[in-house]
Symmetry: C2
Subunit: 111 residues, 2 copies
DNA sequence: GGTTGACACCTATAACTACTAGGTATAATT
DNA sequence: AATTATACCTAGTAGTTATAGGTGTCAACC
């Protein structure tokens, strides 16, 4: 890993990509900007992070891709598969579980 | 990384260790059990994770260690330094920022 | 006396994954 | 003509967690 967003980012690209695509079909560059905007620049996942993530998710069968030319530009659109929806359900559940546990530790109680 | 806790764990061991030690001096084995208990087994950071984390944090000057024999057992107690407190403040702030941003994406809005 | 289990520490290696830093190409804008 | 924005890509780096071992002590049990 490296400097920009630093720690706490493992699993986040996959989670956010699946989240965005569970709403609508999107292409890579659009996802990059989408995450920047949606988080008010708090989270910046550059193209070098998003593209490999998309390829990996496609390879695992969570996404499926098709090329389209829109407004004179060639784009690769990704949409989520049924398998991908299950995967998203699983990891978002896990995200909630882990963040809740960590927050419990941060805020208060342990022996 | 590996299977047990899977993703979303990067930075978490450091965060939790600094958190626990910002309350009171503790030793490694105690921290391992402490995290298990505090999270109701949701997060299990084994000794193979905690000990290297403690050594790393000590090396960076965030923790300081001393050996003590208590109840006939030799233990290595760690306490947080001033530098460690700053570090904890920084990363817990970052934790809040990132989780808030991710949650915003998960729950609702983006373009 | 010997075995088991809890306590308490340790490390090398593997495995994962995000990030950097490049690169290519086209269309629109200045 | 040059720059910027769009749109894609990948190789290599590096930072970390997790696994799977290992050592040794002490108490309890059979």
């Amino acid at each position: 890993m490296a400097k920009t967003n630093a720690a706490f980012m493992s699993g986040v690209p996959e989670l956010l990509v699946l989240r965005l695509l569970s709403r609508e079909e999107m292409y890579g560059y659009q996802i990059v900007r989408g995450i920047r905007q949606a988080t008010g620049e708090s989270i910046i996942l550059a193209e070098g992070v998003i593209y490999p993530t998309l390829h990996g998710l496609e390879k695992k069968g969570y996404l499926s891709a098709r090329s389209r030319t829109v407004e004179g530009r060639s784009r690769v659109y990704y949409h989520i598969t049924a398998k991908g929806k299950k995967r998203f359900a699983a990891i978002s559940k896990q995200w909630n579980k882990i963040t809740a546990s960590v927050n419990a530790c941060l805020e208060f109680a342990y022996v």
